[in-house]
Amino acid sequence: MANNMPELFGTGYPRAGLLRRVGRLEQVAGVRLVTLGDGQGRGVRVLEFRTGTGFAFEVLIDRCFDVGRCELAGQPLSWLSGAGVTGPWYYEPDDWGWFRAWGGGMVVTCGLDHTLGPAEDTAAHFSQPHIQPSVRYGLHGRAGGLPARLAGYGERWEGDECVLWAEGEVLQSAVFAEQLVLRRRIEARVGASRFTIHDVVENTGHTPASHMFLYHCNAGFPVLDEGAELVVPSRRTSTDYGVPVDGYQMMSGPVRGATEACFEHELIAEPEGTVPVGLLNRARGLGVYQVFRIGQLPHHTVWRMLGEGTYALGLEPGTNRDAGRADARERGELQWLEPGETRQYDLEIGALQGTAALDEFGNRVSRLLPTGDTADRR
């Protein structure tokens, strides 16, 4: 398809036209498998994606096949925490241990049987009450600390279109407990500054398992900076953190002694069921966005942590409200997967470059807002 040929450096190139100019595609784009060679990350396998537009991101195979660093032309889009990329063997899943090995990054998967705050819940569905009557869940579940099986990766030409791809499988399982598999495919197109994640979660066990799921997508400096604006199609925005909702979408610089706050949105989807959310830095002409499907992930929370040295904005579409597991149970919103049952999730993440692209995305969101532009904030 001629109209899908890679657009690079302002020109569309058919396959042969591109390959006349480069000895191998990786001069401009490709997927490279490396292993981190030092520090707490040593031994972690990483797939380095470059799409040729200056858009680069990496897949942390041994950290749930999540997406770590993400940047456009050397400008970071993602937040990296002080913890850095940490091998899964240092992961501490109990209580708040998640924070000790949370490197930040563009997409961090939370799940597969639990997300949000630590909780304790029944283990009755596993039918082994003499061993374990209840399950203790740590913050955001175990998925983010699990290594994946690398099922494949590479570059594939489809006519004149070139797709960079990777597939992996993450197994969360224990004897007498859940047995859930996350099968993930990540794709990016040469010439495009975005990637997509397609996830299938399956209960491969023989007992029912609870299922909660959330993408913790983290924007950082310099796309996050004073004056950057969050755009989200929200009918009503609320917070339990005792801070004003008014003006929450405009970012400040780093604040000494800042306390985190979360804001929850009542989402308005596009007619196709997609929800666009972005962080737009108009002064820099740089933005980062996510698009997810409301039918798959009906809830969305923004994590605002604009502190010194921990300066991040989390954009978190999820299966559940921010109040977490007990609240979900009370409301009857906690999901269960029967043996063999699956759930699918789709997420797109991309970069926005230049005023026109930022305005276009801003308009895409504001079109969805109730007339008069201002949604209910409280």
Binding site: F9, R20, R21, T35, L36, V46, G84, Y311
Partner: protein, 358 residues
């Protein structure tokens, strides 16, 4: 001594400013050690430099600490040949009459040396006092590019509000009854900066007087190089050119796009140094507003070659500062220009690779 490095330093944001907005300096820039994990590159240690100023490049530790990938803003600059970065363990030093070097050649900077550069051939080796090998056979551009380095250090060093990303290593080219030369290499880039500083020191660690030849094969590829890109250099005169220049007649100053069936065109130019004693040549892509500058010491590198390889699928221009003229190893021994290093004697090379926006 002129130093390469004092001009054109961009001040980055101050240390505290950066640390307030990043939990990990790596969010903005830094040096990361990885190991390539697949294909013919598997096992090669790489240091990934990201300056945060739009410049990203790889140091190939196990390939003489040469420079592989190099990108500036959204443009690829370093040429990537079809060979990939082959593991040095796969290299065949003497295969194909020494042209096997071409099976492993890729990246922004490929170093040639340490005791031989340019075309292969056989020369006398009486200086090593080992009669069974009175002569030595050299392949194209010598051995050094396919020797793994010992990585002696790397990291990020703050000095007040300035942060230098750095790496140091040693490349040892040695054999019993033969040369024993060590290349000490330091690579630097400023956080927020757009230049790479390469400082090389070649020392004769052996006790026989040993020949030394040295050349950087600096290779730019698409899209910095494309139709209309220009070579900007103070050429006083062209000392030599390959026969293909007359046969093909493609300009060495303004480049065409990839050509079918192109035969390489090679030139040796005499260049006029800048008033400060440095030699600067540039590849300019005016349409994209980007340029790549090679800034070297002409006292250390008295010769310079321009290599046009504008063929389809292998589209590159090489800029090659060299210790010796095109006539090569044997001629240098005859005309007295061969560098003979006594034990402990050294040669120094300070070079800057600069990436600029118009």
């Amino acid at each position: 001594v002129t130093t390469a490095s004092t001009s054109n330093r961009q001040p980055g944001p101050g240390r505290q400013v950066l640390e307030r907005v990043t939990g990990d300096l790596a969010a903005a820039g830094g040096v990361r050690a990885v190991v390539l994990d697949d294909g013919s590159e598997r096992g090669i240690r790489v240091l990934e430099f990201r300056t945060g100023g739009g410049l990203r490049f790889d140091v190939l530790v196990d390939r003489a600490m040469d420079l592989g990938l190099a990108e500036f803003d959204d443009l690829s600059v370093g040429w990537r040949s079809a060979t990939g970065f082959r593991h040095p363990g796969l290299h065949e030093q003497h295969d194909e009459d020494g042209l096997s070097w071409l099976r492993s050649m890729s990246g922004l900077v490929v170093t040639a040396g340490l005791d031989h550069i340019l075309f292969g051939g056989e020369v006398d080796s009486e200086q090593y006092h080992y009669p069974p090998r009175g002569r030595v056979r050299h392949g194209l551009h010598g051995r050094v590019a396919n020797i793994p380095a010992r990585l002696t250090g790397y990291g990020e060093q703050w000095d007040g509000d300035r942060c230098v990303l750095w790496a140091e290593g040693e490349v040892h080219q040695a054999a019993i009854f033969a040369e024993n030369l060590v290349l000490h290499r330091r690579i630097e880039a400023d956080l927020g900066g757009t230049e790479i500083r390469l400082t090389d020191r070649v020392r004769n660690a052996g006790f026989d007087v040993t020949p030394h030849m040295f050349l950087y094969h600096v290779n730019a590829g698409w899209p910095l190089l494309e139709e209309g890109s220009t070579f900007d250099a103070p050429i006083a005169r062209t000392l030599w050119e390959s026969d293909s220049v007359a046969e093909q007649g493609v300009s060495h100053l303004v480049f065409p796009g990839p050509q079918p069936g192109f035969a390489e065109q090679v030139y040796e130019h005499a260049l006029t140094p800048d008033p400060d004693g440095r030699q600067r040549v540039r590849l300019v892509n005016a349409a994209r507003g980007r340029a790549f500058e090679l800034d070297y010491d002409p006292a250390a590198f008295p010769a310079f070659f321009e290599w046009l390889n504008l063929r389809e699928g292998s589209y590159a221009v090489g800029l090659e500062p060299s210790t010796h003229h095109v006539a090569g190893d044997a001629a240098a021994r005859e005309d007295g220009s061969m560098i003979w290093l006594a034990h402990g004697e050294e040669r120094h090379y300070e070079t800057v690779f600069r990436f600029t926006r118009a």
